[in-house]
């Protein structure tokens, strides 16, 4: 008794498709052809959209944004398991998740283009906007989880994403703990893409894994190959099912990699070796999944070509829509500051409109 081992823990690792696209039959999820194609389309759309955003940004047609190329499996796999009644609480590097959720691409563009309209998702409910303050959305997910359970919404869960860097923030810790204590139906997915801007994982934490951070909260944890869309689907599906069944939250670490810059304002050559990137390019989640589809005879070069054309057409249309001027009153922000009007705001609105007038005259003159 004097010194004895009292508690034991382990962190398991899940991979379904290996790096060559070979599937582990035991673990292969039971997905229909349509579901598989939906997942693949989601990833391709995310990739193509990302590349287009990069061009738009370089052309000055879009603001700074955070590319997600390389992380499509981690973002899209779980979305295939998410229902309409579930809540989605994103960070800022889950383009694929937003698009699979049904958020029109033009809204994403509007967000990065500097318009609040980019946070309004017509017809898409229960989907929070991008969270810019790292980790701050994690307690929101816990609160949403509490709310849906409190309301007796059976079969409803909450899915939230964040990065490896976010796990250092107090809000990660507090949000995870609340969810665990409340047994809230929340699935926490950390996209461990190895970097937080220029900070490599080993300066972020010296734990052997990110997954083990969930042990602090008494939460089931799993480490997943985040470039394996099937594994991500499987892990998220199981966790969401557990959440819906009332068995509480789960923490999933998705091991993946940020193939591009942190944001378009960032120059990764300052802090990381090209070789590292090459190595991860070989683990491209799209290539791997395509091989799997091929091996199931669901895919070929022609289908790929068709898909790319369709996706690009969609993107073109959405870019056009994005670039259609937004027609709103210039003082809309004064309407939005609070739900109830107040004299000081109205006074300032009047000042503002007067000033706009004055400056426009000035510009005209």
């Amino acid at each position: 008794m004097p010194i004895r081992d009292k508690h034991e823990f382990k962190v398991s690792f899940l991979q379904v498709l290996d790096e060559d696209g070979r599937v582990d039959k035991q673990l292969e999820p039971d997905l229909s052809r349509d579901q598989l194609l939906e997942l693949y389309r989601g990833m391709v759309l995310a990739r193509e959209a990302d590349q287009r955003m990069l061009r738009l940004q370089r052309q000055g047609r879009l603001g700074t944004f955070s590319p997600s190329t390389g992380q499509e499996a981690a973002a899209c796999g779980p979305l295939l398991a998410l229902g309409k009644a579930d809540w989605l609480v994103p960070a800022f590097r889950e383009l694929g998740a937003l698009l699979m959720r049904g958020v029109p691409f033009n809204r994403v563009l509007r967000f990065w283009g500097g318009w609040e309209e980019g946070n309004v998702f017509p017809g898409v409910d229960r989907t929070l906007p991008i969270a810019v303050i790292v980790g701050s959305q994690i307690p929101h997910a816990a609160g949403l989880g509490y709310a849906v359970r409190h309301r007796g919404e059976k079969d409803t869960a909450v899915l939230t994403f964040f990065g490896d860097g976010a796990t250092s923030e107090g809000d990660f810790h507090e949000g995870m703990n609340f969810a665990a204590v409340w047994k809230a139906p929340v699935v926490f997915i950390c996209q461990n893409n190895q970097w937080a801007i220029s900070t490599p994982l080993n300066k972020q934490t010296v734990s052997e894994s990110i997954a083990q951070k969930g042990l602090a909260y008494g939460m089931p944890v799993l480490q997943v190959d985040g470039n394996d869309a099937l594994a991500m689907y499987r892990a998220a599906k199981e966790a969401l099912d557990r959440a819906r069944a009332g068995d509480g939250p789960t923490f999933i670490e998705a091991i993946t990699y940020r193939l591009m810059m942190h944001t378009t304002a960032d120059d990764p050559s300052k802090y990381r070796a090209e070789g590292e990137v090459d190595q991860w390019e070989r683990r491209d989640p799209l290539v791997r999944f395509r091989k799997y589809l091929g091996s199931k005879r669901l895919w070929n070069a022609q289908k790929e070509e068709q898909l790319r054309v369709e996706v690009k057409q969609y993107i073109d249309d959405q870019v056009k829509e994005y670039e259609t001027p937004i027609d709103v009153k210039p003082d809309i922000i004064f309407d939005l500051v609070r739900g109830i009007a107040h004299e000081l705001i109205e006074e300032q609105r009047a000042e503002f409109l007067h000033r706009l007038n004055d400056e426009n005259e000035d510009a005209d003159a």
């Binding site: 303050i133 307690p139 929101h140 409190h150 609070r338």
Partner: protein, 326 residues
């Protein structure tokens, strides 16, 4: 109904609102079984159960952050910071989300929540238990900050705060929690947010105050009135933000003299803004500089030294006299 303390009146508001609206819930440290360290949440857990009266882990940012999540889902959480001195730990969630979701999503999502917190000095408590920092919250666009001064308005304002469509910081002057009693009607009473109250009319001088300073202010005002026959108008600000500037301006235009009494330190405070509003809108009516009777711009001393660091009736009286004599 017997007269009530402010603690009882706030408790009444919580009971009635929780009965009225299923979506209202209460969360915070020790608010359940223990009924709050000041017993403000007495009986709630028993009446409404653990799922609507939640004893949370010890984490202020987590308390507000999860309350925001609940509010986004359509609930109306009333969360408690055990003391305002620990509320700065949730400043990130407050500045970054509670005040912003409405603008950010153009009204698609809002945060109908209340953050209750006891604040202020005068109860001989430990460090961090005596400050008045309403200015920090009031500066933030989108925030609402409410400070009651007595049992009756505490009840009526808390009801309004709970029903408000946005985040409201509800600061409770703990020095007034049990200091006096007032009649509080059993039936519902709601005071609009954003409105000050003229609690005493007068023509010679306007005093603006709020929270625990109101009682002292009224005492000082009646002393000066009786000693010198001055007619003093007293405004209870109640809503710190948004501020009922027109009531203040209307009064100052009438009296030409103004004293502001505030417990908080002076620098960049609510009193500064009131002076600035008077400058903006009633400068030419002033017959004397606006006088600020406030706390000092020092770290609140430990409780054995604290008394002279807060305004006193005597200090307020002097401020009034000085302004009348200017």
């Amino acid at each position: 109904m017997p007269k009530m303390t402010m603690v009882q009146a706030i408790n009444l508001a919580l009971h009635q609102e929780m009965s009225r609206d299923e979506s209202v819930l209460v969360l915070g440290q020790d608010v359940g079984v223990n009924e709050g360290v000041f017993r403000v949440t007495a009986g709630l857990s028993e009446a409404f159960g653990e799922s609507r009266v939640i004893d949370t882990p010890l984490a202020e940012s987590g308390i507000l952050g999860t309350s925001i999540g609940m509010a986004l889902a359509g609930l109306r959480p009333v969360c408690e910071m055990q003391f305002s001195g620990f509320s700065y730990l949730m400043m990130g969630q407050f500045e970054g989300h509670a005040t912003r979701f409405r603008t950010r999503t153009m009204g698609t999502y809002t945060c109908p929540l209340v953050v209750r917190m006891p604040y202020g000095g005068g109860v001989r408590a430990l460090e961090h238990h005596s400050e008045s920092r309403e200015a920090l919250y009031a500066h933030l666009p989108g925030a609402k900050v409410v400070i009651p001064s007595g049992p009756r308005n505490a009840r009526a304002l808390l009801v309004a705060a709970i029903r408000d469509p946005d985040a409201v910081v509800f600061m409770e002057p703990k020095r007034s929690y049990r200091a006096f009693r007032e009649h509080v009607p059993e039936q519902e009473e709601v005071m609009p947010l954003g409105k000050a109250q003229i609690v005493q009319e007068g023509t010679d001088l306007t005093i603006v105050s709020w929270g625990a300073m109101m009682r002292m202010t009224l005492d000082a005002a009646s002393l000066v009135a009786s000693q010198r026959g001055a007619s003093i108008e007293v405004i209870d600000l109640l809503s710190i933000s948004p501020m009922d500037v027109s009531t203040i301006i209307g009064s100052v235009k009438k009296t030409g003299r103004c004293v502001i009494v505030q417990e908080a330190p002076r620098f960049v405070s609510i009193s500064s803004e009131i002076v600035a509003q008077i400058n903006d809108k009633a400068l030419l009516y002033l017959e004397a500089p606006v006088k600020r009777v406030t706390g000092y711009d020092v770290v609140t001393p430990y409780f054995s030294r604290e008394t002279p660091y807060f305004p006193s009736p005597r200090l307020i009286q002097r401020g009034i006299e000085q302004t009348l004599d200017f």
